[in-house]
């Protein structure tokens, strides 16, 4: 609640002409937004550009922001919609060019082979990559909901408001997403235990 009030104060300051208020808002959310994009898209390429685009859209629409709404839900919604558009664009490109898929896959394989397995840091990165790969195999709706819950630690109500779905849909999507991930990450869990 305090965060929400602080955010609203920043918006009021921005509306009265204080550009530093926007800068503060960016600093407050840039890391989280970048990681939502990173986890949703599954690759590092374009994260900087997409994050920049999110905040440019935020800047453009701040004057029209409705006071009753939650600032972070609004920013994440912009980020998620942008990711969905980008995923659609990539799918179109992928169907148009088989090279994209092959190159992308080859690059991933090359990267994973290039990693030395002994290093603890590398092992940790491999684990992280397993999670990101598994997230990529989920449907977009399941991916969104699990990222907002587990990475952003949003409540069911906040997720529902952000994605404009019912709380019941959040519950069932989360359950299904976890179930799918559990099946996809059997090796991951085995190594952990």
């Amino acid at each position: 609640m305090k965060q929400q009030n602080d955010d609203l104060q920043l918006i009021e300051r921005f509306r009265s002409g204080d550009d530093r208020a926007f800068e503060e808002l960016v600093r407050r959310y840039q890391r989280q937004v970048a990681n939502v994009i990173y986890l949703t898209m599954g690759s590092r390429e374009e994260v900087d550009d997409l994050t920049q685009e999110v905040f440019m859209r935020v800047h453009r629409s701040l004057s029209r922001f409705e006071r009753g709404a939650s600032v972070f839900s609004w920013i994440y919604r912009i980020a998620i919609n942008l990711c969905i558009d980008e995923i659609r664009r990539r799918k179109i490109r992928k169907t148009m060019s088989l090279e994209f898929f092959t190159d992308h896959r080859l690059e991933r394989e090359r990267q994973s082979k290039a990693r030395p397995s002994a290093d603890e840091q590398t092992l940790k990165e491999e684990k992280n990559q397993m999670i990101r790969d598994a997230l990529q195999k989920l449907s977009t709706v399941h991916r969104q909901v699990i990222i907002l819950r587990e990475y952003e630690e949003m409540s069911y109500d906040e997720i529902a408001k952000t994605l404009r779905i019912s709380t019941q849909a959040v519950k069932s999507r989360l359950f299904r997403a976890r179930d799918e991930l559990r099946n996809l990450l059997k090796d991951y869990f085995k190594e952990r235990t």
Binding site: A34, M56, Q129, I131, K171
Partner: protein, 151 residues
Amino acid sequence: MNHQHNFELLSRYADGEVSDAERSHMERSLAECPVCRERFQQISTLRAGIRGAGDYELPSTFTSDLLRTIRSRDQVFEERVGVERFAWRVVLALSLLVIVVVGYSNVSQPEPVVTVDRVLEAEAPDSLTRRVIEPQHELSKDDIVFAAISK
């Protein structure tokens, strides 16, 4: 025990989204059922894994780059708006000029007045038109039409 039902509840329990009764039920299940305990552990592991996987660091210049991009975008926008505004003023000025020119030409070239003498100039001295129109000082449209028809 219905495990399918418990797993759905377990998912909500792990998120703290349960009623008091559901919480008590779940705590009992966790104490009694090793499968439920394992699933609960998996949810916790997955949570930590997802949080760890979001390790992307933006470049330190991100904010300043963003603000610079926004400023240059605004500048381009203002320039474009300036050009558009100028174009509209030119269009408006030209429209006003056309209106003024057309109006002036209408005022400066009045339609020729049709006089009684002109209408009667080709009429015979005892014609019906002459008898009807000659006593009048001014001609109405009806008179002119009448003169034309009777010719």
